[in-house]
């Protein structure tokens, strides 16, 4: 205690309930300012990309700079439509959870671009290893909404036979890995999968997503080491939505300047991207996919965003953070930003947007009716009871057989 002060340090977030949040301390690089190097550039030659912020949409909603992916209006409208659907679906499912139709739910409000833009930039044959907050990938890949809902309400048509909590989807057909409830485990698995793609001489790559909080997990460091050592064709994404349940990003980040900068020590190409900028997420993912496919190895991407709603249906964020943080934080709302961009060059308008929302709402309502016709968690029918003994092993052994008989199913 040389200066009389304790050296025992525990960091705390700048704002708690009742405080007026203020993000002016964030010195964010302006859209269009970041350079776009060739995707095969050595990581040591582009460390600035881990410290700045790759952005395309400026505050006038214009696409600017070297990272502009120059997408056609059709592609942009498709992205907008997937994001709107994601948001409407989430809102509806939350409401249904409140009505007791499912046990649990997790929204991705405010982070829709992270999942949707990345999925659109990848090939459908690329394998994704998401966390529970990238449902947007499923919409972008065209999964049947009724099937998604049947999983969430754990009914007789749940493709996971009622074994998983809602939103923990699996969809092998869509190259969507099984979501784990154990944080971070998918990160190094994605590296292994990508290595297998390389081993087999296939063009396919893998991509994975974890949250800011999960960068503290042992598996994060495992993935980073593997990805660097084996130059695996993988994209490792950190969705920095600034909160891990009630825990602010600083508890995982420590004194690192950015999450992206954590990749530098591993020798990985590391990008920090405006996660609420559809075009920037798309462009960065495309760049990383290109790098992976051409043999340049892995890319580590921090997507800077904000978790606009509760962690899940089990917590109340007003108990640990100011209510209006989302409104005042500088990177806005990904849907509004893409919508305004399209409007700015005459490819969209408020009326069409309203119509899109109506269509998506109708689709969600209609899909739910159909899903519910296959049962709900509380009223059934569920997957038959004997299915709890299936898939433990490839074939049932005497123990499970006896136990199944004991239960009388």
């Amino acid at each position: 205690m040389s200066n009389g002060q304790s050296r025992f340090h525990v960091p705390a977030p700048p704002f708690r309930p009742g405080d007026a949040p203020d993000f002016s301390h964030l010195d964010l690089q302006k859209a269009g300012e970041a350079k776009r190097p060739d995707p095969l550039t050595a990581p040591a030659k582009m460390t600035d990309l881990a410290m700045g912020l790759i952005g395309v949409l400026d505050h006038n909603h214009q696409a600017v700079g070297e990272w502009d992916p120059r997408l056609s209006p059709e592609v942009l409208r498709e992205g907008l439509s997937h994001m709107v659907l994601t948001r409407i679906y989430d809102a509806r499912m939350l409401k249904l959870q409140r009505q007791g139709k499912m046990s649990f739910y997790m929204k991705s409000l405010g982070e829709e671009a992270v999942a949707v833009a990345a999925a659109m930039a990848l090939e459908k044959s690329d394998m994704v290893f998401p966390s529970y907050r990238q449902q947007g990938i499923l919409f972008a890949r065209g999964r049947n909404i009724v099937d998604m809902m049947c999983h969430c309400i754990s009914n007789s048509r749940d493709n996971l036979k009622g074994r998983q909590l809602p939103v923990h989807y699996t969809w092998a057909e869509g190259n969507f890995f099984s979501i784990s409830g154990n944080l971070g485990t998918q990160f190094p698995q994605a590296v292994g999968y990508a290595m297998a793609c390389a081993y087999k001489g296939e063009d396919t790559i893998a991509a994975s997503w974890i949250g800011d909080g999960t960068t503290a997990a042992p598996d994060f460091h495992a993935a980073m080491t593997l990805a660097s050592t084996y130059r695996a064709p993988v994209i490792l994404n950190v969705v920095n939505n600034q909160w891990a349940i009630s825990t602010y990003e600083g508890i995982a980040k420590g004194d690192s300047p950015t999450f992206a900068s954590k990749g530098l020590g591993y020798g990985l190409a590391s990008l920090r991207v405006d996660g609420n900028d559809f075009l920037a997420v798309y462009a960065a993912t495309k760049w990383a996919a290109d790098r992976a496919r051409k043999g340049g190895g892995a890319t580590f991407i921090e997507l800077f965003t904000y978790r606009a709603d509760a962690h899940s249906t089990s917590d109340d964020p007003s108990r640990y953070r100011p209510k209006n943080e989302f409104e005042v934080w500088p990177l806005g709302d990904p849907i509004e930003r893409l919508k305004n961009h399209l409007i700015g060059f005459g490819e969209w308008d408020e009326e069409r947007h309203e119509k899109l929302e109506e269509q998506m709402t109708a689709l969600v309502v209609k899909s739910y009716k159909e899903a519910e016709s296959h049962g709900t968690l509380h009223d059934g029918p569920l997957s038959p009871t004997h299915t709890i003994f299936e898939d433990v092993y490839a074939t049932e052994d005497w123990r499970l057989r006896r136990q199944r008989q004991d239960l009388g199913v």
Partner: protein
């Protein structure tokens, strides 16, 4: 005495420990400002400050290791693992380090750490919020394993655990945090306020580890269980009108063999019950020990009532949970065996 639920009792225990022992520190994921996802540490950071009750990064290995390091320097850490299902990243630190530090250093270093963790099913948590992994830990020499079944014990046992000299894995049956549970899922929730063990003294007291309690006396058979199932057992015995003697084990390592043996020698019939899967579950240890010590008193095979050898299902949670119907059947089977 005030009525407390189990969370309030645990909170009160930590309040007492923080107040009495400046070496006590508490940390875990969301345990600081928010007070934990179940609220067990609510208000403690505000009362004792950021350096005594704080948030940890999402790394259970780091949480366990930090606790070991702190304890080596004389602190008394109480670490929270958010769900017992998430304790496995910490497994290496617990097995290879925490449990053996005293042994391998011939007593030069010790790690009297308490690892608290919400445990067990019955809250529709699916396979990653329902597990009962106690048997992994009872298999490790050097750690104690405790599972209270009510607010009074939860407080007294947590204080005893933290004031003790050995590492303790302290599993909290989350299904009964807010009230006892009779194993019938759709029945209305009951409250601890109506239960005698919901009366909890405000101040310091200890319920020593290693001692079981007979929560219901009987002659027809013995039930050895712990956690949520203690309540399911009592209700099943009453419902079925079977004169069962029910032992709340409370501590699994080391378990109270004397209380078990005395009861089994009296009844000659025994059900051992847990929610965890059957194969290599803690019931296997109990059954083996009981047959060694009470073989000639037994009038029926030891009955193991357990979860199935499957992961904990979500939609079919109640087909997995050994609830009232299965409990009654178990009691009938052992008492009717001739």
């Amino acid at each position: 005495m005030p009525a407390m639920n189990m969370l309030q009792a645990l909170n009160s225990a930590m309040d007492v420990l923080l107040d009495k022992h400046p070496e006590t520190v508490i940390f875990g994921e969301d345990s600081g400002y928010f007070g934990g996802v179940f609220g067990a540490t609510q208000g403690l950071q505000k009362k004792y400050g950021l350096d005594r009750v704080f948030d940890a990064p999402i790394n259970e290995a780091a949480i366990a290791a930090m606790a070991i390091g702190m304890a080596a320097k004389g602190l008394k850490p109480i670490a929270e693992i958010q769900f017992a299902d998430y304790i496995f990243p910490a497994f290496d630190q617990i097995i290879s380090e925490m449990s053996r530090l005293r042994y391998r250093s011939a007593g030069q270093f010790v790690s009297p750490v308490v690892v608290r963790s919400p445990w067990g099913g019955g809250i529709r948590g699916g396979q990653t919020h329902s597990m009962s992994p106690e048997a992994f830990f009872t298999h490790i020499p050097g750690v104690k394993v405790a599972v209270p079944s009510n607010p009074y014990d939860a407080k007294g046992m947590l204080i005893a655990a933290s004031e003790g000299d050995d590492p303790v894995i302290f599993f909290e049956p989350k299904r009964i945090y807010n009230g006892p549970f009779d194993g019938v899922p759709d029945a209305p929730l009951s409250s601890w306020a109506k239960h005698p063990k919901g009366e909890v003294p405000e101040g310091h007291y200890r319920v020593e580890l290693g001692k079981a309690e007979i929560v219901r006396e009987g002659e027809a058979c013995t039930v050895v269980t712990y956690g949520t199932l203690v309540h399911v057992a009592v209700n099943a015995a009453e419902k079925a009108g079977i004169d069962a003697e029910i032992i709340d084990l409370k501590t699994l390592a080391p378990y109270d063999i004397e209380t078990i043996v005395a009861s089994v020698n009296k009844t000659g019939r025994v059900v051992v019950a847990h929610e965890a899967p059957r194969t290599s579950g803690f019931g296997a240890e109990l059954a083996a020990q009981i047959q060694e010590e009470c073989f000639y008193a037994l009038e029926a095979p030891v009955f193991r009532l357990t979860g199935w050898d499957t992961p904990y299902p979500h939609a079919h949670e109640w087909a997995y949970f050994p609830g009232q119907a299965r409990f009654i059947r178990a009691l009938q089977t052992v008492t009717e065996a001739r």
